[in-house]
Amino acid sequence: MSDPLEVDNVIEARGLLKLYGSARAVDAIDLSIRKGEIFGLLGPNGAGKTTTILMMLGLTETSGGSIEVLGFNPVRQPLEVKRRVGYLPDAVGFYDNLTARENLVYIARLLDIPRRQTTARIMEALEAVQLADVADKRVATYSRGMRQRLGIAEIVMKKAEVAILDEPTSGLDPHATFELLEMIRGLKKANVAVLLSSHLLDRVQSVCDRVALFNKGKIALMGTVVELANQVLGAGHPILVEASGIDVPAVLKGIEGVQRVVPEGGAWRIVADRDVRAVAAQRIVAAGGSLTRLAELQPSLEEVYTRYFEEARRAA
């Protein structure tokens, strides 16, 4: 990290490569994650997300390229990296025969946290994830959501500078998911850079500052959700119009600035270069139609994702 321009990056990968035999699990990706942001790794199963994460932690060897985490090389200095990075694996496991507190004590010993601080830091972490009242129950009695929260508590206790969460919300009910996402936002507030992988797109969209879309070991798209939408769905203001009684497409096409009108499930989607909602309403009413719905469409990650993979499949 000698380059002053990159000083804010906590994770920096250049041409990162992982081969399993002749298969390219991760195919020369470039990735940089900034301090204090929540970064989402998206993509279908087997696209290389978990492998990328394992290489960042030095838990699997790289086959080429370079990677730096907080200025350390995970291949040569894994202990330094792992001291500063918290990891919540996919379907995290704990020692079921121990209590939550005992599980954290073991990790605290591995982290070499001074004994006098251990109790306070564990309680602080368990309070942050609302598990303080069940701290002395055996983990065997915990629900899946509670286990995930205990995993977050471990990261809080570690005072990690970077948190890497692999599929943190998979298998959780909506309420537990909501709670977990709140905790992930809490990590960000504590100035922790968060890297999370997921396939629950609408959830990811609500917390991520930037996302990278993985496809067959490569990063297909990277940027904010809006940037990705512009790239895949085209720039402009998408609007959904539902009306009857008139020739709706003809009226809509007559509006200045409208580029496309596409039928969509009994309604029409317009893409325009500016916000044309007011004009569209006026024209439809003036033409004698009855306007039942008029909405500005937020670009959704799900749409970007679906559209991208449809096009990728068509191109293949």
Partner: protein, 326 residues
Amino acid sequence: MQRNQGRREGSPFTGLGPVFVKELSDHLSSTRMMVLTLFVIVFGALPVGFTLQTLRQVTQSDQFLFLRIFTVEPEQAPISFYAALTFMIPLMAIGLGFDAVNSEFNRRTLSRVLSQPIYRDALLLGKFLGGLATLAVALTALFLIVFGAGLLLLGLPPRGPEVARGLAFLVVAIAYGGVWLAVAMLFSVIFRSTATSALCALGLWLFFFILWPMIAQAITTGFAPSQFRSVDEVLSLEAFGQALQRLSPGTLFGEAVIGLLQPETKAFGQFANLVMQQTRGMIQGTPLPFDQSLLLIWPQITGLIAGMIVVFSIAYIVFQREEVRA
């Protein structure tokens, strides 16, 4: 590739202490340990009880009477205490080690633990030492019980050399347990299923206890000439047979224990003993001093420790190459 990018930094033993302490406390508080203890008491105490009864009827003087507790086959059951240990210790070690690594994998705790500042070296070594310490605690307790029972029922205290020999016996027993613990851990690294790993370790144990003596015997017989022309030929064939037998850790343990607990032992093997008596003027029945006995069984002790290290190293190499992901 990246391998020659440079050496990894940081001590491989970072985190060894916490892993060791956790393993030890897990073992000592587990139900499994209670079952194993029960097992040991039943299989260890029974021969000792019978042996003590037999020994109480002995009237002739014996300067190593106390050590006979370990080696004499009682009248009621044809099994001495050390023979019981020969097959008990592997069972205990396998019980402690067969799920050392794969259970962490199955509970999905492995990747979480390895994402802490710790190398795999420390995790595996900590688990091994934790198991070995548990084994040592159990065996020491058993020894103390046997010593105590001997004191009470024979009414005579052990002499200095007997205590020394008894302690050496304990050390050899722990080393013997270490070999089987390493074997069990090797299988726990190779197989993801704990049942498969336990089955393989027990299979190997049965192989060495039941099949190997027969196979070694058969091979030796196959190599025997139709007619022996000299004493040397007889001796070399016996040595060959012994070498085969000694591939089994049980044989090494048995010889080491006999050398320690029967101070009269001067060589292993029928013919070797005979030759020793006839050519070197050694008198049967006179005991060797402790240091000479130790010298006699030194190869057996080093063999056991070397076996333990070799098997552990193989487990270590396999573990280093394993992917942590599910």
